[in-house]
Structure formats: structure tokens, C-alpha cells
């Protein structure tokens, strides 16, 4: 007899985080006031979360690439298994680009490639987290007044605007640059 069954709960799988956690922060501070406070906050976070953290300030465009390549070598040669890597990139930027201390641009895609599953064996199948604090264009968001169902939730103390882009999940069938079968 065929029985109709309802949706089943997801079986949660988690990454093994028992190995080493490594972090690299590259930060352009030139004409970026306040970036020191961001680096201090990241230092605290990486310490609290038991990361081996390396921080470099004011890399040129070329040095962004070189420091990522050095980091890749550190990961590959780490004595114990590596569980995950964080990379924090902070600079002025445009869509897909970061500006080095020398005002030259480096492609984010070229940086991401260095630690992908093809180029970094030690991180194959391990979580790689990129945190990018940079502009991605010139648009400024003034926000939109909250309407619809949200109206009822507004109280005197709440802000009455919401960013233009929220509550959206981007689900692509393939990563950028690759064929979708």
C-alpha cells in the first residue's frame, strides 16, 4: 500500500571544524579612515574563534595576489589538517575589482581562484569564507519606506525604511563563467 508522507526534515550535515583555522586579512588603510578599528575588531573575532590570523596593511594590487599565494602555500604546508580558511579583503573597489594601495585594480575572481578546490588541495571540500569590505559600484541606497505587511510592525522607535535589496536569495544553477548542464 502506497502511503502519502509529508516533507521530511532535513538531515543537517556539518563541516568538521576540529582542525586548524587560518585567516588572512588584507586591508588598504590609505584614504580609508576607520579601517584600523575594523582590523582591531577582526583581530578580536579571530582570537575568540581560535583562528591563526595574519594581517597585512596597504597591499598594492600585485601584493593582494602575492599575499593570497603565500597564504595558499602556508595552508598547503600546514602540519595538521586544516578545517577552514577565512580571507578578509578591505579596500576601495568596484564591481569585481579591488583597488590596491598603488591605485591599481585587482580582479576579485583572480583572488578567489587561488584557494579554490583545483588550486588548494589542503582546502579541497573545506569551507572558504571571503569577507569583502569594498564598494561594488557607485549607487547609493536611500532606502524605501516600509509598506504592506510590515506597516503593522512599525513602532515609534523603529526605522521606517528598508534597504532596496533584502530578502532575496540568489540561486544560480552554476557558478559564474561555467556552463549549466
Amino acid at each position: 500500500e502506497l502511503k502519502m508522507s509529508g516533507p521530511q526534515p532535513l538531515q543537517e550535515e556539518v563541516y568538521d571544524m576540529s582542525g586548524a583555522r587560518l585567516a588572512l586579512t588584507l586591508c588598504v588603510t590609505k584614504a580609508r579612515e576607520g579601517s584600523g578599528a575594523d582590523m582591531d575588531a577582526l583581530k578580536r573575532m579571530f582570537h575568540q574563534l581560535r583562528f591563526e590570523s595574519t594581517m597585512k596593511t596597504d597591499p598594492t594590487a600585485q601584493q593582494f595576489l602575492e599575499e593570497l599565494e603565500k597564504f595558499q602555500q602556508v595552508i598547503e604546508n600546514w602540519e595538521e589538517p586544516v578545517s577552514c580558511a577565512f580571507v578578509v579583503l578591505m579596500a576601495h573597489g568596484e564591481e569585481g575589482l579591488l583597488k590596491g594601495e598603488d591605485e591599481q585594480m585587482v580582479k576579485l575572481e583572480d583572488l578567489f581562484e587561488i584557494l579554490n578546490n583545483k588550486n588548494c588541495r589542503a582546502l579541497r571540500g573545506k569551507p572558504k569564507v571571503y569577507i569583502i569590505q569594498a564598494c561594488r559600484g557607485e549607487h547609493r541606497d536611500l532606502g524605501e519606506t516600509i509598506g504592506g505587511d510590515e506597516v503593522a510592525m512599525i513602532t515609534k522607535d523603529d526605522l521606517q525604511t528598508i534597504p532596496t535589496y533584502t530578502d532575496t536569495l540568489h540561486i544560480y544553477s552554476t557558478v559564474e563563467g561555467y556552463i549549466s548542464y
Binding site: V14, D38, G125, L142, T166
Partner: protein, 64 residues
């Protein structure tokens, strides 16, 4: 970016990652929620800024 306090993105993200427990996906939703509430004043005009998360993770990440 505040010239002494830093960027709202990094400050909120580090606060959430240090002080909240949950999967990284859940933590990032909290970061987005808090940033959506935050108004940044630029040249006297309130602005909004919030992160965009693109993920190809296959499992949950727990940092705590």
C-alpha cells in the same frame, strides 16, 4: 565607514560572530537584519547598506 568606529559591516559581523551561536548561514542572516536597520549618514543624508551573501557551501559551518 565611521572614521573612528570603522565600518558598520565589519563591526556588526564581528559582534555577531563573537557573541551569537548558530550556523554561519544563521549568523549572516542576523548580520543582514542588523545592517538593514542601520542608517549610515553620508553628507547629511541617511543611506542604507547591506551585505549580499552568495553561497556554494554544501554543509553547515559552526564556528563556536
Amino acid at each position: 565607514r565611521h572614521d573612528q568606529k570603522g565600518s558598520s559591516f565589519i563591526q556588526i559581523l564581528t559582534d555577531v560572530f563573537i557573541n551569537k551561536k548558530g550556523s554561519i548561514s544563521e549568523l549572516l542572516i542576523e548580520v543582514t537584519r542588523r545592517m538593514a536597520k542601520t542608517e549610515v549618514i553620508q553628507e547629511g543624508t541617511p543611506r542604507k547598506v547591506n551585505p549580499e551573501i552568495q553561497s556554494t557551501l554544501r554543509k553547515q559551518v559552526y564556528l563556536q
